[in-house]
Symmetry: C2
Amino acid sequence: MGVEIERKFLVTHDSWHDLAPGVLYRQGYISTQPERTVRVRVAGDRAFITLKGATQGTARSEFEYPIPLEDANEILNVLCVSPLIEKYRHKIELNGLTWEVDEFLGENQGLVIAEVELENADQAIELPDWIGEDVSHDSRYYNSNLVTHPFNRW
Amino acid sequence: MGVEIERKFLVTHDSWHDLAPGVLYRQGYISTQPERTVRVRVAGDRAFITLKGATQGTARSEFEYPIPLEDANEILNVLCVSPLIEKYRHKIELNGLTWEVDEFLGENQGLVIAEVELENADQAIELPDWIGEDVSHDSRYYNSNLVTHPFNRW
């Protein structure tokens, strides 16, 4: 289906918070192997299964398909590695880019991450003032790793 | 999506062979963990992703979704554990049941397995004369295990 190129940053303060409403995301992993991740996600009232390959630089193969919400809830409860990841996602449009700011809940409460998807790896981006450290290459921040090593145990 | 109840048998001779044509199946696994298997299958010109949970008796939760053929081929090449499973599947209708007879290729050449899906675990079935040993509970015959422990190494 395609290749995802994205960068990921810590968020330093709360001035982004009123720019977009948060949608509750619940997601779990059937495989957390970095070279073949399988994620099931419920985003509001929609659900998806997503396969991702190994990260190469800032790019990663990604295949995503919508699935019935009822199936997704059953898969999250029955098949996924526990615990699940829960977070509010805020989609913020700024200067032609979409920033996805994730406020994590549960065992990852306190963690706030912003991701931006790019058209190519060299694309220049204007960083909002609430953007902090670039953690694109820090695997601790992979959602799949936040299942097994949640933020409150760092 | 549902629960799959099936029984699996070895096949003892070739008299089934002319009952139905074979369709080439190529399939690979993103997760071979028995409690959460993820399979991508190309069956002729169609493709699917299938999630299966742990086997409980003869039943197993199963969720299956069609995906584009082009995606499936890319996932088989890029994401799946190698080697892939290749086989000809013959669907044989007999006495109201559908028997799926799989003739394996490659490292599993020589292995022929027949599966039948049931409506309930206690359903009586009439066995054709080419049906041999019941291997429903023998995990060596799981397709996911034939990837890592192919028949030619038994």
